[in-house]
Symmetry: C2
Subunit: 403 residues, 2 copies
């Protein structure tokens, strides 16, 4: 049965999951401490930042994912990244893990930790310690909403999505929430993603699924080219839907992958659209590359070009900047075999300008979602990347972040 | 004898060189057509954009540099890049070459052509054709100034430098001028550089010298990470200083290299400082990498980070963004062996925060030149890169470039 999107479901909807988010005091007023918990230990998969500088909580969570192979709860704070904080940072991250484990009566090594915020400041642990005691997760929409609020930094909107599918005749829900709006690229920077499902699947297969999907979703977005020290996407699958365990040989495996892909892609696009200061989502679709990887490389180069981003912000059909970005992407190409469309309007054919109505394109560029199509006619590789425009507000947000 | 900088000398100062710049009509009012010419054919070296999409004039000039191996004159227009203009673009670039050759009575294949401006618009050739007839180059400061004005696009200042040295007891002058302020990185994007000297040197050795120097000067600057279709640096050496021909075995070879390096570095820093919308020059010096190339990679990654650039604009000593950029540079490093200074203030040691006076650093960050020092303690590699802050004006300039 094909998956369907169910807008009123959330990360607390898969059987046995609960969530909450509260204000503990790391931020002035906003919620800043979140918890996601499963009734039983869940299979877990994770992808983590490729930055050589990794935050303390990320190291703790990596151990849960790769050593324990199961996760039952994850505690997240916003306002402080607990990165570049040395031994004290590790002590604090382990304390968050232990306090959460004690509060909910589970083993330390089943608790993940995530942090987001300013780099290089030692955590204020008193509000966190007190906050953990006050957490009361629930399996209702309210819990999921407060969770998604408490993980935000410069995000302007919460990011949630959920789908339902049928596996072995059992209803399975996959839901996700994410935060992230600056410092996003490549490879998921200052981005946190949490996906829950009641599907029954081993951690190793879940990891395979997540890794393959990450390349074409979370790793295909870019906001400003910076990669953070704290990023992770975690999937927890607690098996309470009671389907026969999913493996690549299971008849519904593809359906599960598609549903997980849909969740990840929704979250990725939401993050790109909510890029710091952004007014528009930009989608770049590339065809005709010699491989899918090269197509994605071109797409990411175009969507990451500051000159393309400012042109889109200014409603300027400056395709010269698009083709210049294609040119410096490093992909194999023939300058005289490039076709570019902005929306449905062809602006370049065989690498040369095509007459078009600038007026019509300005109308198109004023839409909240701008699509750019590039065909380089070299092969069958295709790929898509998402980003946002570069605006005065991006500069304003980042020139004054700590003030 | 060591070189010395001579501020009143210019690209028309080396013996036998003349320059001029006029308004021909590609721009509304500003100068837009420039010529540099030598009394005799000069040895020539060039470095060109690595963008796969190359503008027509660049292809014409590459042939002069690599096929003819000599250059006597170069004609430059601003206002139109003559890029992505197909066969008509090539016809127009050849026409500029031929008209210039005819006007000054020299062979076509001794004339270079360069263009800068909007990509993808067919050149208006009538103003260019008429303009070439009006060019009257002179060997005085006035000629060099009008030249440097006529090659500008969004540049806010002209960029000139000159040095004198003694080779075989003969006075040799090396002088340069450049334009470029947006779309600069990596590998010299929308940047034009012209260096003249009366030194006597074969083209092949001149090329060796230029190539080695380019890596640590023009290729070590970044404004917004975009690479243009039109960039080139040309060095013309006409031999009229009458020194014995320079080769790597010549006793004054190192002196020549140092002088050429000084000219190239001055121009590179001027370009970085005049980055679109910039208020400050940022210099990042990296030590302790496993190679000079890795040190330069780290330096360029830090100076190119939009988050570092906006923090410097906002006078925010946000060293977390610096260390995060070091981390995602891809260089070999140990997170616990990183030291960072902003100016003379140590902010990170062993990868951890060091207490410092935020107030003093704000005063430092308000200076027009901000220096960041990174030592990663892995080896002896060192390198420096230059860039600028990211400001509201950058967005404004690029959101409305064609309006």
């Amino acid at each position: 049965m094909p998956m369907k999107r169910i807008s009123y479901k959330n990360i607390a909807s898969p059987k046995g999951f609960q969530a909450t988010g509260i204000h503990c005091g790391l931020k002035h007023k906003k919620k800043d401490l979140a918890l996601l918990i499963s009734e039983v230990p869940a299979s877990v998969a994770g992808v983590f930042t490729t930055n050589a500088i990794k935050a303390a909580p990320l190291l703790v969570t990596k151990d849960v994912v790769y050593q324990t192979g199961k996760m039952q709860a994850i505690i997240i704070n916003a306002g402080n990244a607990n990165a570049c904080t040395g031994k004290q940072g590790m002590t604090d991250a382990y304390a968050m893990q232990k306090l959460t484990a004690e509060k909910f009566g589970i083993a330390n090594n089943l608790v993940g930790v995530a942090s987001t915020g300013v780099i290089g400041e030692i955590m204020k642990m008193e509000p966190v310690t007190n906050g953990i005691q006050q957490l009361e997760p629930i399996d209702e929409l309210e819990g999921a909403i407060s969770f998604s609020q408490a993980i935000m930094t410069t995000d302007t909107v919460t990011k949630n999505t959920s789908y339902q599918t049928i596996i072995d005749g059992k209803e399975v829900i996959i839901a996700g929430t994410a935060k992230g709006s600056g410092m996003i690229e490549p490879n998921m920077a200052t981005m946190l993603g949490f996906i829950t499902t009641d599907a029954n699947i081993e951690s190793s297969h879940l990891q395979t699924a997540l890794t393959s999907i990450t390349d074409i979703t979370f790793n295909a977005i870019t906001v400003d080219g910076d990669t953070s020290t704290n990023d992770m996407v975690i999937v927890m699958a607690n098996g309470l839907a009671e389907n026969k365990t999913l493996t690549p040989d299971h008849p519904d495996w593809e359906d599960f992958i598609q549903t997980l892909h849909a969740v990840a892609q929704d979250l990725a696009k939401m993050i790109a659209k909510d890029g710091e200061g952004a007014t528009k989502l930009i989608e770049v679709e590339v065809k005709g590359a010699i491989s899918n990887a090269e197509a994605r490389k071109i797409a990411k180069t175009v969507v990451g070009s500051p000159l393309v981003k400012t042109a889109v912000f200014g409603n300027d059909a400056n395709w010269g900047r698009i083709i210049a970005a294609v040119g410096y992407s490093g992909a194999t190409l023939d300058p005289y075999a490039i076709t570019i469309h902005i929306g449905v309007t062809k602006v370049v054919e065989n690498g040369e300008p095509v007459p078009f109505s600038e007026k019509d394109l300005i109308v198109y560029l004023k839409q909240p979602e701008v699509k750019i199509f590039v065909d380089i006619h070299q092969g069958n590789g295709q790929g898509t990347a998402w980003g946002c425009d570069l605006t005065y507000d991006y500069v304003q947000i980042n020139a004054t972040y700590r003030s």
